[in-house]
Symmetry: C2
């Protein structure tokens, strides 16, 4: 439980960050970026398997993923876990904590990662003066709500194949935006974590991967996925079972 927190005194600067168009500073001018540099002054490294924060921790900061990959999950009282999302470079973690000033989910690094620490009180203060920042931040929160509604649709009314296809298409899209291949990916999460996110058991996830392979949609070697027919996947991800 006593994870050492490694803070990096390195200057984190939005103005020189190559993720800035995918992150909080999207669309900002260079003067505006300088205001942000004050906000985002520290980084933190999180080793694979370690928590960035846990449910119940006091909330003071948001975190922008700089490198690496995270999962967030909520737990029921009886211990059942639900993975609520996977986050990659440029995405924000910790929005759940604003409401009660305590985090309400766990954020765990799925590979060695670094994040930028954004002190929330300062973000609020700066966004009172910089309406463009205010606008962007509101849009980010709203986007998270819209994303969550999409997941509800998936969990509430899609079948296993549709769920996994939707998951893969979404993942490839986000990776592509970040300059990675649209057709090959090394998954950072286990079958069980995918299953938890999609409301399926790990065996079902595994079987569905195998079926996609049989159908010529994918090539699957453990966590190494190569997409052979993206359109076919997309068709599955949105269309009914007919």
């Amino acid at each position: 439980m006593s994870t050492t927190i490694r803070l990096e005194p390195l200057k984190a600067a939005c103005s020189t960050c190559n993720l800035r168009e995918l992150c909080l500073p999207v669309g900002m001018s260079s003067e505006q970026l300088e205001r942000l540099d004050v906000l985002v002054s520290t980084r933190r490294s999180v080793a694979r398997g370690d928590p960035l924060f846990r449910s119940g921790d006091a909330f003071t900061s948001l975190y922008a993923v700089r490198t690496g990959f995270f999962k967030t999950s909520v737990a029921a009282e009886d211990g059942r876990e639900q993975v609520t999302g996977f986050q990659m470079a440029g995405e924000l973690l910790g929005l759940d904590g604003i409401s009660s000033e305590r985090h309400s989910c766990d954020a765990i690094a799925l590979e060695d990662s670094t994040v930028c620490i954004i002190r929330f009180r300062e973000l609020e203060a700066v966004s009172r003066e910089l309406s463009d920042l205010q606008r962007v931040f509101h849009k980010i929160m709203s986007r998270e709500i819209v994303r969550d509604h999409g997941v509800m649709l998936l969990l509430g009314s899609m079948r296993a194949e549709e769920r996994l296809a939707a998951f893969l298409v979404n993942l490839m899209q986000r990776l592509h935006l970040r300059g990675f291949s649209q057709t090959a990916v090394m998954l950072r999460m286990t079958r069980e974590e995918i299953g938890s996110y999609l409301g399926l058991k790990l065996e079902t996830v595994s079987r569905t991967f195998s079926k996609f392979q049989d159908d010529g949609l994918l090539e699957v070697k453990q966590r190494d996925i190569r997409v052979l027919n993206l359109d076919g996947l997309k068709r599955l991800a949105t269309s009914p079972n007919c």
Copy 2:
């Protein structure tokens, strides 16, 4: 499609609204409330069955439910619908629209309702000057995210009985906060709408209601629900299937 929109020139005033402690103005001083009165200047009536807004509509305003009851739902391309929430007095509608400046879900009145219209640009402007308002608004958005995560947990890992129990407990709690009985409710939504929200078919919802009645937890007469054993329901809502 051509629903007549009825705007009410009546002055809507947060400062005299008895919902203010459940709504955007929570915790505000009387001077602050006067600033809010400017923001929230118009009301709108929505007849039962009519949309407050629809997916794709331009986003300009948030809506605070004043009287009545709403559902929100998202649709897949093939027409499948997922109810994403039910909203009652004091709750905010429209947060989904901020991200793309278009609404991404439908909001339909389940009974004759009235809402306060909150022009979003003005809300942003005022909250730049009133940090208490800014704080409250951020908490409301965050609370919606936390709620959505709870629904994901429900959809991803609970069984039919647990889902319905959790739904009922949550509903009774929110009604209780608003001064209604904690043990009796006249449901405003159909079995199909409950089912859509919970990821179940209407027959399953109906059967589960019947089972709860057999088990002495509820008395069910169509939409008329009387809770006989709230603790029993709560136990079901959170505990595992053991």
